[in-house]
Symmetry: C2
Subunit: 402 residues, 2 copies
C-alpha cells in the first residue's frame, strides 16, 4: 500500500464528464488499497472568466490581495465538484481548501511561496481512509489572508504535499502522455522516455517544453519526490522524473526550440572594466530576463555585447539601455526578432565531449548557419534563423535519436 | 461617528454597474466619517448556477458538506469584486470570508446556526479605518469545515455582526424601499411606514411579505439591533424596525395574503383522548409545517380536525395520515388548495378588541365568505376562497388604512 499524490489541471476537470473521468482514475488506485491525495486546478476557463470579471471592475488591475480572494474561488468550485463525483460513485471523500490542507505561504499575493505545510488535517483524513481532494494554487499567509502561488502553482501544491507526506509517487496528469525527445507533432521519430532526471526535466521546461511547472520540478528534486508525467485521457504509464535513472545508451534527452527569442546587440561599447556589469545591472533593474550572452572584441578599442531576451521584453530592454547613456557609452543598438533557439538536453553529455561537435555537424549538413552558441553542463543551445527552426530540430533529433 | 452594518443581496451586485452602485452607497457613508461593514450575498444567479453544476454531477443531491464548499465560492467572488470597485474609487477596503470575519457555526451544513462571532479581525480592520466587506451566508464549524447558514442567511450574518460589534444601525438593502401596509403594486392606497416593531415585522414576514429573513429579525430583536429596510436603487430613508416605536394612531401595520396554503380536513375522527396528539405528531415526523388548526365536534361521537399546510406539503401530509390508520381511525380526508390566507398585523390591536370585528365587517361588506379564523396577539388571519384574495386585501386595507 502506497500513498499517491495526483494532480489534474483545469482542462481535466472542465466539465461533468471529465470530472467523472478524473474520479474514476482516483478510485482505480484507491480500490487497489492506495491512499490517494489529489490536487486540482480551477475548471477549464474559470480562472480566465474570473479575471475578466475583475478587469470589468478595474481595467487598470485590481489589488493582488483581492485578486487572490477572487481567483481562489475557482479551485473551491472544482474540488467540491470532484468530491461530489467520487461520493456519487460510492467512495469516501473530502475536499480541502488550501488553508484547510495546511498551506502556509509568504505574503506575495499572486505569486506566493509555500513556507510550511501543516499536514495534520491531511494525515487525519487519510487516517480515516478517505480520498482527499485539495485545492491547488492557494494557501494563506500569516495574517490569514488567502494567497495564490501563481499560474502553474497547482503542480507545486502537489509536489509540496508529496514531499511533506513522504508520498511514494506524485503523478502530474496532463494532455500529453509523457516527456518526448522532441515535439511528436513535428518530429515523427520523437521518442517517449520511461525515465528522465530532474535536471533534464528542468532544462527541457526552460526551453519551452511546458509539461511541468519549473518550480515544482525544483521542489521535487530538493525533496527527492518521484514524479510521473502522464495523460488523464489514456490509461498507460507516463514518464518518471527522478534523480537516479537507469542508464540508457542515449546521450541526449530532448531537442527543443524556443521562438520567443530576440537577439540584441550593443555595438561599440567603451572597452573599460565594469561595462558589462553596468549594462546587465540596468537590464536587471528593468526586470528583463537575459539569456544567452556573447561578448566580442570590437574595433578601435571598443567591444560588442550581444544577448538574447524573450521577444516581449525587447522593447523594455532597448529603452533601458537608451536611458543609460549617462553611464554607458556605445555606438548603436541593433536587434533581431527573427531568430530561434534550438537546444539539446541530456545528463549523458556531461561525460561525452563529442556531443557539441555532433550537433554542429548535423546543422552544417542541413545547411543551417549558427548565430550564437551557449552551453550548460547538460544543455547545448544554438541561435539560428527562425525560418530554419523546425528543420534544425529534425536534423539534430535524427543525428542523435533518429 | 457611527458604526453602520449594511447588507446587499445578490441582485444588488449582479453586474459591474450594480457593484459600483453599491460601492458608492458605502463610500457615501464612509465619507461622512462612519465606519462601515458591508455583508454581501453571491452575485445574481451565481448560487443557482453552482447548484446546477452540482446537480449535473449528482442529480440525487450531493452531500451537504460539499455543497457548502461549492456554494460559499459565490460570496467569495462577490466580496472580492465589491472590494475591487471600492479600491478603484480610491478608498481603503478589505474583503473577508465568513471564517476570516470570525463566524463560527454549528455543523448543520446547509442550514447552520452561528455559535460565536469572533470580532477580533473585524475590529482590527475597522481600527485601521478600512471599509470591510464580509461574505454573508457562511462560516466554519469546529472542524474548520465551511458551513452555510441557508438561503437568506446573509441577513443573519449582517445582524450578527451588528449585534457583536454593537453597531448603531443595520441597513438591509432590498429591491423595495421599505415596509408597506400592503403590496403597493396591488393596493394603491398602501402606506409605507417610517417605523415598525420587530414583532410586526416577524408576523408580516411569516405572512409572505418577504422583505427580511425571519431568523435575522428574531436575532435583531434578541440583541436589540436597530434595522432599516431600504432600497439599493433609490437614495431615500426606508423603514426602521426596532422595539419601541413612536406611537401612531394606526391599529394595524399591514395586510398580507398568502396563497401557498392548502386546507386539509380529517373527517370522522374517533373522539377519544390523544387523537389530536397522534395526528399532529405524525405530521411533525413527516416534517409538515402545520399552520391554522380548527377542531369541531362531528356527528355520531366523532370529531373533525381541519388544518392548513403549505401547498407543496399537502401530498406529504396526506400520505403521512394515510399511513397512520393503525393508530388513527377516521372516515375520510379531504383537501382544498383553492384557498388563501389574508391577515392583518399590528401591535396596536392588542389593546383594541374591536379590530377583529372591523376586519370581518369589511369582508362581509365585500361579500367574501370566511372559512376559518385564527388569531395571535398582534395578528388576525382568515382563510377565504383564493379567487377573492386580492379583493379581500383591498377591502380590509381600505377599512383600516384607506
Amino acid at each position: 500500500m502506497s500513498l499517491i499524490v495526483k494532480k489534474f489541471g483545469g482542462s481535466s476537470v472542465a466539465n461533468a464528464q471529465r470530472v467523472f473521468n478524473v474520479a474514476n482514475i482516483i478510485i482505480e488506485d484507491f480500490k487497489k488499497g492506495h491512499d490517494v491525495i489529489t490536487v486540482v486546478s480551477a475548471q477549464g476557463d474559470t480562472t480566465d472568466d474570473l479575471i475578466d470579471k475583475a478587469l470589468e471592475i478595474n481595467p487598470d488591475g485590481a489589488s493582488k490581495r483581492e485578486m487572490d480572494v477572487l481567483l481562489s474561488a475557482g479551485e473551491q468550485i472544482s474540488i467540491s465538484l470532484l468530491a461530489m463525483a467520487i461520493e456519487k460513485l460510492g467512495y469516501p471523500v473530502i475536499s480541502l481548501l488550501g488553508w484547510q490542507a495546511g498551506f502556509n505561504t509568504d505574503s506575495h499575493h499572486g505569486f506566493s511561496r509555500i513556507k510550511t505545510l501543516n499536514t495534520e488535517r491531511l494525515k487525519n483524513e487519510i487516517g480515516k481512509h478517505k480520498i482527499v481532494i485539495v485545492a491547488g494554487f492557494q494557501g494563506i499567509n500569516r495574517y490569514d489572508d488567502i494567497t495564490t502561488l501563481g499560474r502553474g502553482g497547482s503542480d507545486t501544491s502537489a509536489v509540496a504535499i508529496a514531499a511533506a507526506m513522504k508520498a511514494d509517487l506524485c503523478q502530474i496528469y496532463t494532455d500529453v502522455d509523457g516527456v518526448y525527445s522532441a515535439d511528436p507533432r513535428k518530429v515523427d521519430t520523437a521518442k517517449k522516455w520511461d525515465e528522465i532526471t530532474y535536471d533534464e526535466m528542468l532544462e527541457l521546461a526552460a526551453l519551452g517544453a511546458q509539461v511541468l511547472n519549473n518550480r515544482s520540478v525544483e521542489m521535487a528534486k530538493k525533496y527527492n519526490v518521484e514524479l510521473e508525467v502522464l495523460s488523464s485521457l489514456e490509461r498507460k504509464p507516463g514518464t518518471i522524473v527522478k534523480e537516479n535513472i537507469k542508464m540508457e545508451k542515449t546521450l541526449i534527452r530532448g531537442v527543443a526550440k524556443d521562438t520567443n527569442v530576440t537577439r540584441i546587440s550593443v555595438i561599440g561599447l567603451e572597452d573599460t572594466p565594469g561595462v558589462a556589469f553596468k549594462l546587465f545591472n540596468k537590464l536587471a533593474q528593468a526586470k528583463v530576463n537575459v539569456d544567452t550572452i556573447l561578448q566580442s572584441v570590437g574595433r578601435d578599442g571598443t567591444k560588442d555585447i550581444t544577448f538574447t531576451v524573450p521577444s516581449d521584453q525587447c522593447k523594455t530592454a532597448k529603452e533601458a539601455l537608451e536611458s543609460a547613456t549617462n553611464i554607458l557609452t556605445y555606438k548603436e543598438i541593433s536587434s533581431n526578432e527573427k531568430i530561434a533557439k534550438v537546444s539539446i538536453v541530456g545528463a549523458g553529455m556531461e561525460s561525452n565531449p563529442g556531443v557539441a561537435a555532433k550537433m554542429f555537424e548535423a546543422l552544417y549538413d542541413a545547411g543551417i548557419n549558427i548565430n550564437m552558441i551557449s552551453t550548460s553542463e547538460i544543455k547545448i543551445s544554438v541561435l539560428i534563423d527562425v525560418d530554419y527552426a523546425d528543420k534544425a530540430v529534425k536534423a539534430v533529433h535524427d543525428a542523435f535519436l533518429g
